[in-house]
C-alpha cells in the first residue's frame, strides 16, 4: 500500500476503461431469497425483501447494483457477508458452497476475503474508537505482524485525508459525512480482501473526491484483482466503473447488461423510467417521468405477477399473473419482462 493508491490518479485522460472480457468467477450467488417475518404471532406477514437473485462477481470485475430504494440491494450485500441468513439460495466462493461448509457462521478466512462498506456512515463507525483504531483492529486480526500505525497512515492518505496522522487521532463525531465514508472505504481496504461489497460508498462525497474514490476502485480491480459489488443510485458512476450493471425493483433483479449497453439500450420499462429521471439541469424537475407516481409497490405479502405491473404503461393481463422469466436479448444482456417473451428474444425495445 504505497503511493500506487494515491487519490488522484494520473491523467491519462480519455484512455478507454473497457476491461477485458474474461473475469474468472470469484463469488457467485444462486437463487438468493430473503423474507423477513413481521407482525405478531397471530397475524404473521412477510416482507419479500429479495427474491431469486443470481449473479457472479469475477476477479477484477465491478458489478454495479442499482434500482429502487427498498428493492433489496443492501439485503443482497448483507446476505453475502453473512450478517443475515437467506431463506433460500446458495453462496459460492471459488466454487465452494459457503452456506453448506460454514453453516453457523462465516469463517475468519471468509470474513477477510469478503469485506463490506456499509451504507450509513453515521451508524457504522463506533463512536468510542478513534479513526486510527477503526483501521488498526482489522489489521491486527487479519494481517498480524504488520507495522500497524504505518499502514494506518498509508490507508488514510490513500482516501485523501490531510494531514493523515491528525485524522487518525480523531473520533467519528469530529468528521463530516463524506469523511466518515472515506474511513469506511479505508477500513475495507485494510485487510486486502478479494471481494468488496460497497453499499453507496460515495453518496456523500463531492464529485472531485468521488472521482478519486472511483478511480481508486478501478485501480484496485486492475492491479489487485479485487472484485466489487458497487451499490449506488448514481447511474453515471455505475456506468463509469461498472463492468456490468444489474437493475432491481421490489426485490427482483429485472435487468442486467454490460453497463454502457444497459444505459444506451434499456429494455425493461423500469430501467427506462429510472434513466429518464436522472437529474438534468437543462430540463428541470418538472419534466420527464410524469407517469412516475403510480402505486407504491408492496413487499408485504405481494400479489403475484411482475411487481412493476401496477405502474407500467405496457402492462397486460399476464403481467399481473406471473413473474416473467429471464430473456436473453444479447450476449450478457437479459431482462425479465413479458414484453420480451423467451421465444422471441429479438422483440423490439419498448
Amino acid at each position: 500500500m504505497t503511493e500506487d493508491m494515491a487519490m488522484n490518479a494520473t491523467t491519462e485522460s480519455s484512455a478507454p476503461l473497457d476491461p477485458a472480457a474474461a473475469h474468472p468467477v470469484v463469488l457467485e450467488v444462486r437463487g438468493l431469497t430473503k423474507r423477513f417475518p413481521i407482525g405478531n404471532a397471530l397475524r404473521q406477514k412477510q416482507v419479500h425483501a429479495l427474491t431469486d437473485a443470481s449473479f457472479s462477481i469475477g476477479r477484477g470485475e465491478v458489478v454495479a447494483l442499482v434500482g429502487e430504494s427498498g428493492s433489496g440491494k443492501s439485503t443482497t450485500a448483507r446476505l453475502i457477508t453473512r450478517l443475515i441468513e437467506p431463506t433460500h439460495g446458495a453462496i459460492y466462493l471459488h466454487g465452494r458452497d459457503v452456506l453448506k461448509q460454514e453453516p453457523h457462521s462465516a469463517s475468519l478466512a471468509y470474513r477477510r476475503a469478503v469485506q463490506m462498506i456499509f451504507q450509513d456512515p453515521y451508524g457504522s463507525l463506533n463512536p468510542a474508537l478513534t479513526i486510527g483504531a477503526h483501521l488498526a483492529r482489522p489489521l491486527q486480526i487479519h494481517r498480524p505482524g504488520q507495522n500497524v500505525s504505518e499502514t494506518v497512515i498509508e490507508l488514510l492518505t490513500a482516501v485523501g485525508f490531510n494531514p493523515p496522522a491528525e485524522f487518525a487521532a480523531k473520533f467519528p463525531y469530529q468528521l463530516s459525512g463524506g469523511q466518515r465514508q472515506r474511513v469506511a472505504i479505508a477500513r475495507a481496504l485494510a485487510v486486502k480482501p478479494e471481494i468488496i461489497l460497497a453499499d453507496e460508498p460515495v453518496s456523500m462525497l463531492d464529485v472531485s473526491i468521488r472521482m478519486g474514490v472511483l478511480n481508486l476502485i478501478d485501480q484496485l480491480k486492475e492491479e489487485r484483482g479485487i472484485g466489487f459489488l458497487y451499490i449506488t443510485h448514481d447511474l453515471a458512476s455505475a456506468r463509469y466503473i461498472g463492468d456490468r450493471t444489474i437493475v432491481m425493483y421490489a426485490g427482483h433483479q429485472v435487468e442486467c447488461a454490460e453497463s454502457t449497453q444497459l444505459m444506451s439500450q434499456p429494455a425493461h420499462p423500469y430501467t427506462q423510467l429510472l434513466l429518464a429521471a436522472v437529474p438534468n439541469p437543462e430540463a428541470g424537475l418538472t419534466t420527464g417521468g410524469e407517469e412516475a407516481r403510480g402505486e407504491i409497490p408492496s413487499l408485504i405479502d405481494p400479489p403475484p405477477g411482475c411487481p412493476f405491473a401496477p405502474r407500467c404503461g405496457h402492462a397486460q393481463p399476464v403481467c399481473r399473473q406471473t413473474m416473467p422469466a429471464k430473456t436473453l436479448l444479447a450476449e450478457n444482456h437479459w431482462v425479465r419482462c413479458h414484453l420480451f417473451p423467451a421465444d422471441s428474444a429479438s422483440a423490439p425495445a419498448a
Partner: protein, 342 residues
C-alpha cells in the same frame, strides 16, 4: 472581525418589501483542536427569500453542515461561533435563550440531518415517531395523528402498512424518507435538508422533491438545500452558493452557476461528472487534496490546486465581488473581469 466590508445583499433577497426569511451575515465558526482552531466557516454571508430554495454545494468537509447546525443552534463544543449574525424571520438566532430556542427549533426551523438514516429511535415504530411529533407539536388527537402520519408517508412514497415497522426493518432510503416526512409534519418556516436523498433512487428522489415543491408553493416555506449532486441542486434551487474550505467562493442564481461558472473550483466541480452517454473517459476530478483547515493556504485558499489563476499566493485573498448582476465570485481573475468592465 467586523472590519471587513459586509457582503452586499445576496441574490434572492434583493427588492421586495419583506425582509428575507433567513439572513446569515459574516458567520465565523471554529472547531478547537489540539493543533489550534480549525476555521470551518469563514466569513460566510447569504440570505434566503420567502418561498425560495437556496442550495449549498462544496467539497466534503468544507463547512456546509456546520453552517446548518449554526442556524439551528445545535453546534456543541469544541465548535465556537466566533463572529457574525443569523436572523430567521427577523429574530436574532445567536442571541436566543434556551426557552426561546426550544420553540424556534420546532416551529420555525425543521432540519433533515445528514445522519437521518441513523437518527430514528430504534425501539419505537416509525408510525409512533411521526404520531408523537404531530400530537406534541401540532396538538392532534392520536387518531388524527395516525391519519396524518399515513398521509405524510404517502408523500414520501412509503405504503402505510409500514407505519408499524421499526427503523431496522426499513431500508436506508426508507429511513431517510421517514425523517423527511417528520420534518414536513412540523410546517416549518425554514426547512433545512442536509443531503436528504443520498439513499434514494432518482425516480423516488424526483417525486419527493416535486411534492415538496408543491407543498412549498401552498405553504410558502423556504428551503436550505445541501447536496453534492450539483445537477439536482440546479434543478431544485433558485439560488446557490459554492463553498471551498469554509468560504463561499461563488454565489448566483442556480441556473447562472450551471451555465456560466466562473470560479475555477466551481468549474472543476461541474466538469468532473461522469456522463450517461458517449465514450467512457477517465475523469480525475480536481487534482490535489482538501486543505488543512488549521493551517489553511495563504491568500486564495484554492491556489495550491488552481491551474488558472496567475496571481501569487502572497496576494491577499480575493473578496466576494459581484461580477455581473446577481453573480458573486471570490476569484482574482474574476475581479480583473470587473476592473476591465469599469
Amino acid at each position: 472581525m467586523n472590519t471587513k466590508p459586509p457582503v452586499p445583499e445576496a441574490p434572492g433577497s434583493a427588492g421586495g418589501p419583506a425582509a428575507p426569511l433567513l439572513e446569515v451575515r459574516n458567520l465565523y465558526v471554529e472547531y478547537l483542536t489540539p493543533r489550534g482552531p480549525a476555521q470551518a466557516v469563514h466569513n460566510v454571508s447569504f440570505s434566503i427569500g420567502r418561498g425560495q430554495v437556496f442550495g449549498l454545494a462544496g467539497e466534503s468537509g468544507c463547512g456546509k453542515s456546520t453552517i446548518a447546525h449554526s442556524i439551528l443552534r445545535v453546534l456543541r463544543p469544541p465548535a465556537v461561533i466566533t463572529g457574525g449574525q443569523i436572523r430567521v424571520d427577523g429574530a436574532d438566532v445567536l442571541k436566543m435563550q434556551d426557552a426561546e430556542l426550544e420553540d424556534f427549533r420546532w416551529r420555525k426551523v425543521a432540519m433533515v440531518f445528514q445522519s437521518a438514516m441513523n437518527s430514528l429511535n430504534p425501539v419505537i415504530t416509525v408510525g409512533e415517531q411521526i404520531d408523537d411529533v404531530l400530537i406534541r407539536h401540532n396538538r392532534l388527537s392520536p387518531a388524527q395523528a395516525r391519519e396524518r402520519s399515513a398521509e405524510l408517508l404517502k408523500i414520501v412514497g412509503i405504503e402505510s402498512a409500514r407505519l408499524k415497522s421499526f427503523p431496522h426493518q426499513m431500508s436506508g432510503g426508507m429511513r431517510q424518507r421517514v425523517v423527511i416526512a417528520i420534518a414536513l409534519a412540523l410546517n416549518p418556516a425554514l426547512l433545512i435538508m442536509d443531503e436528504p436523498t443520498t439513499a434514494l433512487d432518482v425516480v423516488v428522489q424526483k417525486d419527493i422533491l416535486r411534492q415538496i415543491q408543491q407543498l412549498k408553493a401552498a405553504l410558502g416555506f423556504s428551503i436550505l438545500f445541501i447536496t453534492h449532486d450539483v445537477s439536482l441542486m440546479v434543478e431544485f434551487s433558485d439560488n446557490m452558493a459554492v463553498m471551498y474550505a469554509g468560504e463561499v467562493v461563488e454565489m448566483a442564481p442556480a441556473r447562472e452557476i450551471f451555465s456560466n461558472p466562473i470560479h475555477p473550483y466551481t468549474r472543476g466541480l461541474l466538469s468532473s461528472f461522469p456522463s450517461l452517454q458517449g465514450r467512457r473517459r477517465k475523469l480525475t476530478g480536481i487534482p490535489g487534496s482538501p486543505p488543512d483547515l488549521v493551517n489553511p493556504p495563504s491568500g486564495c485558499k484554492f491556489h495550491p490546486r488552481c491551474t488558472r489563476c496567475t496571481r501569487l499566493e502572497t496576494e491577499a485573498a480575493p473578496q466576494l465581488t459581484e461580477v455581473t448582476a446577481g453573480h458573486w465570485v471570490a476569484y482574482h481573475d474574476g475581479l480583473r473581469l470587473t476592473e476591465a468592465a469599469a
